[in-house]
Symmetry: D4
């Protein structure tokens, strides 16, 4: 049953929609630096696993502002698809074509605003037969109330709400992974207390060994 | 499947129920000016798209106070249906008749209180075979807990919770829309930071051009 | 479909479980006076509509404390069923018998703690073929997180979460009701701002008439 | 003693500093529309009482964005003083000269950010012998913690923290004021629930009179 | 030193300013029923101790609504002083005369809004040589930010912020007081959990004695 | 129907996953001492009921830190299963074997982080035909938003969210239980106000009896 | 200047007032287990440093409940002084005598409620010439608003607000202290994340050394 | 008067105390990444202005963890002073000597925990005749209540609470500064929305110029 489906590095594509500096100013359900860090962490994992990434922006030259540059810097293989004014990215044929071209049937979608730029294409993709995960904390909306409403709507449509940490961890699968260190860095960026944890741990070991000598 | 249905300008009607100044005093899950702005934004879109709007008030001459005047000012084509004491607007035959007269099968419902004036007719309309969207942030309730409970109840009944931003954006469909400017204004009213954004953007362009000269 | 069912004065029974002064000290998701007022408002409506009310307490002589006295004062027809140590009231045969004796198939359940004293018998009653509404704000739990978890559990079981205001309003049906004034008083107790509203309204009319003279 | 000083229409000047659309994006301790409404209400009172208003912007052509236009629209007598890069407006001689030119010794200061654009000139003005009121809710800062810290700093410096409502009410002095209606409108803008109150009151009186007939 | 002064039943007067049903709708820093309960508790203590109470309302026939009736019901000796439009009650000569007539030099002031109706006369009274306590939780204001600002302003002016519980407890002085039971009831109204505590305690003792038999 | 299933002492197993001191530093949706107390309370009940407990840690020697020692101290029969780097404990064959060895078909799962260490094996267990309860407040996640998202995801998968109090109470079934006292202690640890309640109750009885003498 | 005074083990006394299980039920500004832990931590330090501790309870046999037993268990040298009904402990001659008998001029005061049981004797002690520190998080009050008001009142009276951590750390002075380990334990109880920190640290060192072998 | 003192690049020293990765885990009044960014921004300004920076750590080899490395990386001229167990850095003679060696009389102090590592040396420095600013948002404490208490204590001692933004802006003085760009970067790090603002602004200008062509 698809609601129990798992995410694997080789069967998903990432759709990152309207992560634009102007729209970030309207985000009130999550801190903007946290949001940006989470999107970057997804990009980092996509880069090392060669997961297809499609970005799009509604009007990068208008007041919504430019796409956050980190995505394409971190994941140079990401494909940008312009839109011709469509609000729902799934209404842009070139965007749907790009998704089809990936050959993947599981989509990980994040964007700003969650209630619009994530919800609309997520529901459309479900209608088109895809399995869809909406990454709520790599997305942003205008109020916590709006996020609460949107999660309820997504549940009704069969879209699976998920967090950045869960996406990365599901793809990682095992710490025996050859790129475990990169994964640890990505998770540290998502969970800032984890970074301090690792610093303390290393120091404690260093001290123990020094003392031993 | 109806839970994936989309909203289009030509297949929906707006039902705005008991947005009265007295009842506004009992609203605690959203700021009242935000609530009024959101309702006005819906009215504005209804006006330019000629979407049927039906308003009703439980007792406009009693302590619940008069209907907020903005709706009929902004959308003069809106139809007001009085009730004869019924709490659930769907129990008023004239109200159901007015809905039928629109010929639409998708209903966008907002009102105060969410748990009563929105929930009851929404569930009745589902039972009568309609597809129903409840606009939570164009509605108001007496506590966040009450809103949380009501969203859960609506989900169980198959009513789709939605935000004002999502309703307007779903109807807009594309920024190539001939009334894009009006939509941008409506969205600015819903997302106040968006207004400041547009002001900054316009100024930035003006400066760039001046400097160029 | 039962998830769309409506509440009527003549087809429901109220089950008020473990509203005890000791347990009230553990409630953290709602203010205790609000909780008590909401329970009393339910009792008041039950009294005028002759809706069956069954109360029960887990250990009224132990540290959980005595049942709040308002219920039986306001609704003298309420029936108290003692338990013999059972946590889930539905495990007490006398309690189930009392429910059966009412002849009603729709149950309105409230109690303290929501996650235990409401959730357990609600789910049991669903399993026994009843339609069940859980009145979240006439119940109390030890944290907002606990309430959030419990609402999710109830949704999965098909129990309908509802608020006190919605229960009273669904039973009222119309303000042409012969006891409309009592209903208005009950709703004022649930929504304190409504009380001030009515005071202001009466004064405004009095002033207008005086001035007219 | 100056800490007990009162505000009068004829002995104060309003200094409105850096209320720019770009800086509004960094405000997190108050909703931006509320902030803008409060500033506009101050301008409205200044206009009818002919209270001197001095505005200034750090860099109106840079990313901080243009000054919010409402101030000069509502209070056309307001004087704009440009700065030459100075962060603390009191470091701009033309600004201090403009203040001196008003001949007033009590200053009402608001701006964005509170911790910088309000705090610095407030403290400088105290040092220069003025009595200073800082209007915290006609100002904005980057976090509630920042506002808390800034209020503590202002207290230490002898700057009196105040709200927009208090400023307007202190100037009004009596509802027998010839412009009482304008004051009521200004206060309604600051306290949105007050607007609904007045609507309900008027309706109640109208109904009472109609019924009387 | 006056900032260390204590409150005694025979040397204080209570000034309750603008506790009107309309203004209650604008209160956002405290629940309205809590506010009303706290004011009533002060009235109750004033009644048994014969502490002078002066009430006043800005415009009891206008949209601010009538004075809450509980005060004069509970404390029939309270004196009502009308105002002629003055915002600051201390600007009404009849009000100041009424205060003088009490012969007390310590004033306990509460009202709605805290930032206006409490702050202005409190500061004026300090200037006139009185010792002043402002009862913050028997008062109400339009936002927590507004309350925070007002407390800071009052501190600067030498007004002592206090709570209802502290006022009642300071006057009580000892539980050997002949009216200790009335005080316990008043405190229970202010601290609702205390009511449940007493109910449980009584029950526990009753059970212990029954069991003993 | 499994969503109505009940928990019994003899048909469940407890899976406690990655409750490690390092990971606790990343928990932000619940206080860490509360989380630890809740986990310990589960262990206590498991010990007296002989419910199988399986613990596991992702990397007890790495920065995630050692397993909290209380579990194995309180429930010495608990079985620890090491993992070989797998994130999802269900991907570790030895873990699944340990679960199978218990012979139970209902699993009570808690862990840190909820969105990863609880969600992944919960969903896998559902897929493998188990009935699964996720104990949200004996688990921890990096933000309330993350918890909200995870509860929604679990609902979609048919995992039943539950609280520690509800788990213990469902297993207790009746206060006639031979270990009722231990249950009361466990519940006191989960609900700290309950502890004070019992202390007060005992004292009240003692006083009553003394007085009687 | 006394506002800069420091706390030393040999010049202070601890006054712990009305930490009773019944009163704990009314505490809403801090979690009760946190409050109890903080009080216990103070008792622990008093025990090892032989700092005088005076406890008192308003009515330990009444509904306020018994004194929390931990204090006298941890600090057996603590002296209990009964009161004869006085609300302000400083009004009980035996209490003041006990304070004088300690010979200390710096008092560390904590209690429940902060606004009454801490504020009153603190202000009285200042008037009597003592230097007073009020430990806000080893005390409890009925709402955050109440705490905010009380801190403001204490500041005006010259009472120094302080935290449990600060008290313990000021007395510790240096980690070269012979009882540093006990201090570390006390601080771990006050800061639960610190406990996990130490567990992780020890494990990290153990692992490093094992690996080294 | 010193409470009106201003901060200048050439008359202050920065004291950064106990910013250690272990202690960061106990911080609950501010997000840890925000705290780290704020400290780094201070370091950046110190580096370009050659402001003396003194760092210290209580036990960098113990569980408190290593000093955050960013400080010395960004400000290589910073001086590290070890302590010999002293909690209050001012009790370490080498630390006081280092402060004296800077020749500055105004100290900007930040650290973790605010209530201990900032408050103690701040008060000691005031006693030693320095002017002291405590940077609350470049410091961290274990709860918002703790921060509130500490700010009140600092106010009583004459320590000026301040924010990172205010410190940087006071030193900047004018945007005509030769290093204005570095300051803008530092402020962007402190106010993340400012970063998005600048990105949008630059894009808007670029678009305007392109379009012009």
């Amino acid at each position: 049953m698809s609601l129990l489906t798992r995410i694997n590095a080789d069967d998903v594509a990432f759709l990152l929609i309207d992560h634009q500096s102007g729209l970030f100013q309207t985000v009130k359900d999550i801190e903007v630096p946290t949001l940006r860090s989470n999107v970057s962490a997804l990009a980092r994992i996509a880069a090392i696993e060669n997961i297809p990434v499609i970005t799009t922006a509604s009007e990068p030259k208008g007041p919504n502002g430019p796409l956050m540059p980190e995505i394409h810097e971190i994941a140079p293989h990401a494909v940008y698809v312009g839109r011709n004014g469509e609000v729902n990215a799934w209404d842009t044929p070139a965007f749907v074509d790009a998704v089809k071209a990936t050959g993947k049937k599981k989509l990980i979608i994040a964007g700003v605003l969650t209630s619009v730029c994530v919800a609309f294409p997520s529901i459309s993709a479900i209608a088109a037969g895809y399995e869809v995960f909406a990454v709520i904390d790599a997305s942003g909306d205008m109020s916590p109330l709006s996020t609460q409403v949107t999660i309820a709507r997504l549940q009704l449509a069969g879209v699976i709400p998920i967090t950045t940490t869960a996406v990365i961890s599901e793809i990682l699968k095992t710490w025996k992974h050859k790129d475990a260190y990169t994964y640890a860095q990505a998770l540290s960026a998502v969970m800032p207390n984890y970074q301090a944890l690792i610093e303390s741990y290393s120091k404690a070991q260093e001290v123990a060994l020094e003392t031993k000598k």
